[in-house]
């Protein structure tokens, strides 16, 4: 059973990345005005290296440790020009610390909002600007939004670095590269550990590696507290169901969230996002059913359909709607999603 102190500490983490991160951001802005960015980077690096080493040891045995170890090997200060290999395996050379960044994935919208000054973002996704889908919508007001990755739309924002996802049309990526703009491709968003790695990778190329490490350390600490609180009882079987009949199997962000929240994925036999028959749902018999808010009608229909009348979650009315932004996030806010799910599935007290 988690102690009262532990639960209180958990409550503190409700405000993501808490006061410590806010102070860091404030400090950076002040120092930037004085034109001493390198000094502050070293100072922050030293401050955060301490916290990272503490939380890093606690995670040595977890599956996150591999990704984490990879990141800690690199130096804490980055000098430009910088050449890195992106997640798609392409060499990317960035001549100076980027100050006109185009973020063309929802994940990087949220990650970059925490890493760089907002004025350094020249393009974000339209979803990143919608409060229903994004944790940082209010921050991104006034920044140009793009709904699909078109080469011209991206080049028109005159960025000095573009973040794209691997599902962007290869032709578009080539056209942007031909325009002489460095493109960093992210390839995997299907687990918390990969999201953490994405944050570190993004942090490296925007010259904010220590800050990125701080964010990841904060995530790990919150996840550790949730895991500790959740180890007490039996792990319930949980299914995330999406319209029209898709379930989140293994290798999905939602699978990772369910596991981190202390549940077992009832659809673990399925790989990725797959449509599933009503009969398979009856067989997998989840104790808890999770839906996105926008699928409320489907949840309602399932509750009243005779097909699902024997499913434990339906019988016990343990059906929960998650905010859309919780189910879609692939950034540090995934921890908020874990906390929400942990409370819904009862591993964490509300």
């Amino acid at each position: 059973m988690p102690t009262h102190v532990e639960l209180c500490r958990l409550a503190e983490f409700f405000d993501p990345y808490g006061r410590a991160m806010a102070n860091l951001r404030k400090g950076e802005i002040v120092m930037a005005r004085k034109g001493k960015q390198i000094t502050i980077a070293v100072l922050m690096g030293a401050a955060l290296a301490a916290s990272a080493s503490v939380s890093g040891s606690a995670y040595a045995q977890s599956h996150h440790s591999i990704a984490y170890a990879k990141a800690t090997k690199s130096s804490s200060t980055v000098t430009f020009p910088l050449t890195v290999t992106d997640e798609a395996g392409n060499k990317v050379t960035i001549s100076h610390r980027p100050v006109r960044i185009a973020s063309v994935t929802e994940g990087t919208d949220e990650i970059l909002s925490a890493l760089v000054p907002i004025k350094d973002l020249v393009l974000v996704t339209t979803y990143g600007k919608q409060p229903a889908y994004s944790f940082v919508a209010s921050k991104l007001k006034g920044i140009r939004g793009i709904s699909s990755a078109t080469a011209e739309g991206i080049i028109a924002a005159r960025p000095d670095l573009v973040f794209l996802a691997s599902y962007t049309t290869p032709g578009v990526v080539n056209q942007i590269r031909q325009a002489g703009i460095p493109v960093y491709e992210l390839t995997d968003f299907n687990s918390i550990s990969q999201i953490e790695q994405n944050i570190l990778n993004v942090g490296l190329v925007v010259g904010k590696e220590p800050k990125a490490r701080g964010i990841v350390a904060g995530m790990k600490q919150r996840l550790r507290l949730i895991a500790k609180a959740a180890t007490s009882g039996r792990k319930p079987t949980v299914m995330y169901y999406a319209s029209p009949n898709y379930v989140a199997g293994k290798n999905t962000t939602m699978n990772s969230v369910i596991l981190a929240a202390g549940g077992r994925n009832a659809a673990a036999a399925v790989n990725g996002w797959q449509p599933e028959t009503a009969e398979a749902v009856v067989k997998q018999n989840p104790q808890i059913l999770l839906f996105s808010q926008s699928d409320a009608k489907i949840a309602e229909a399932m509750l009243h359909s005779p097909k699902y009348s024997t499913v434990a979650a339906i019988k016990d009315h343990r059906v929960f709607l998650l905010p859309d932004r919780d189910t879609g996030t692939v950034s540090q806010y995934i921890v908020d999603s874990v906390a929400t799910v942990a409370k819904d599935i009862g591993t964490l007290k509300k």
């Binding site: 319209s243 449509p275 028959t277 005779p306 024997t310």
Partner: protein, 339 residues
């Protein structure tokens, strides 16, 4: 095979349907022994709600019914349209009902009205299908006469228009809703229930009655429009009745199972080669053939990647397209050899 009497061909089809239905009822992610299938169904109808009873009574049985009825409906409509268009390439897709139906469904989801009730999308699909059919019919009718060629061309144009509307709506929607919309394009039977089975029963029943009463006229029409008019067939009325019945049937089917391609095209085509062109035999043979194809395709759709389900439209196209091409080649080579 070709020398078999008609009744034995029908018997073969009925037996094949029985086998396909057996597989559909016996197979599934839940391992239910064959001997327990009937008791489970009986228990379900007595109000018992055990997992086995629910799986057989509320999931597999209605799904089998819907698969069979959709197969029957699509094939009958295909056979009727091929008769009035005197073109074996005609199918429910060609008069715009299928694509119109999917536009209706997708619009209802995109505008959010679909969230007002489970019946909103099906209703939209039905009315939009009717609208598309009406547009095709009006465009194909010049000076009170409906030309088959302008009707087919109008059908192609309206289907293309509907297709682009669907694609446009898909491209501006968030991913979550997009998955919901894919159902309407690729088809699926997971929506099956006793209510949808009953709805299908009514419309497919109407289609069966209407088309059966037209069987003789269909035969005469295949000789040519002038010959048909010569022996007193009211062509305009005939076309109107067939098109309206087709639109009603396909509109309701699209709303329940999404767009399922190739069934209406290949089944009557294949049956015409096997049982001959007389509609008195062709229509029931097509109905049975359609039910077999849909039930078989659904077994594959459910079991191939179990517990994941493949959209049934993918299976019918995968089976249908190569089979159709094979038939075409064979027919062509027979004609060449005869020359």
């Amino acid at each position: 095979m070709h020398r078999l009497p008609t009744w034995s061909k029908m018997l073969i089809l009925a037996l094949l349907l029985l086998v396909a239905a057996g597989f559909e009822l016996a197979l599934g992610p839940m391992n239910i022994p064959v001997s327990r299938l009937v008791p489970a169904a009986v228990l379900y109808f007595h109000g018992v709600r055990t997992p086995d009873a629910v799986v057989v009574g509320a999931i597999r049985l209605p799904r089998l019914l819907v698969a069979m009825l959709v197969g029957v409906g699509l094939s009958l409509v295909g056979a009727a349209l091929q008769a009035i268009f005197r073109n074996p390439m005609a199918d429910p897709g060609i008069i715009g009902v299928s694509s119109g139906g999917s536009v209706g469904a997708v619009v209802s989801i995109a505008t959010g009205v679909a969230s007002h009730g489970l019946w909103v999308s099906p209703l939209f699909a039905f009315f939009a299908g009717m609208l598309a059919m009406f547009a095709v019919y009006r465009l194909g009718t010049v000076g009170g006469k409906t030309s088959i060629y302008s009707l087919l061309l109008a059908g192609v144009a309206i289907s293309a228009l509907c297709g682009s509307v669907v694609t446009f709506l898909l491209s501006i929607e968030p991913t979550q809703t997009m998955q919901g919309m894919l159902f309407w394009i690729m088809g699926g039977l997971d929506n099956s229930s006793w209510v949808t089975s009953a709805m299908l029963c009514v419309v497919v029943g109407v289609a069966t009655l209407v088309f059966s009463s037209c069987a003789k006229a269909f035969d005469i029409m295949s000789l040519g429009e002038e010959q048909a008019e010569g022996v007193g067939v009211n062509l305009q009325q005939m076309k109107r009745v067939t098109l309206f019945t087709s639109a009603l049937t396909v509109g309701v089917m699209v709303s329940i199972s999404g767009v399922i391609s190739f069934v209406g095209l290949i089944v009557p085509h294949f049956m015409r080669m096997w049982v001959g062109p007389a509609h008195r035999v062709l229509l029931p043979a097509s109905a049975l053939g359609g039910a077999i194809l849909m039930t078989g395709a659904d077994v594959v759709a459910r079991m191939a990647l179990s517990p994941t389900e493949i959209n049934i439209g993918v299976i019918t196209s995968l089976l249908g397209a190569p089979f159709f091409l094979y038939l075409l080649r064979r027919q062509y080579s027979t004609i060449v050899r005869r020359r």
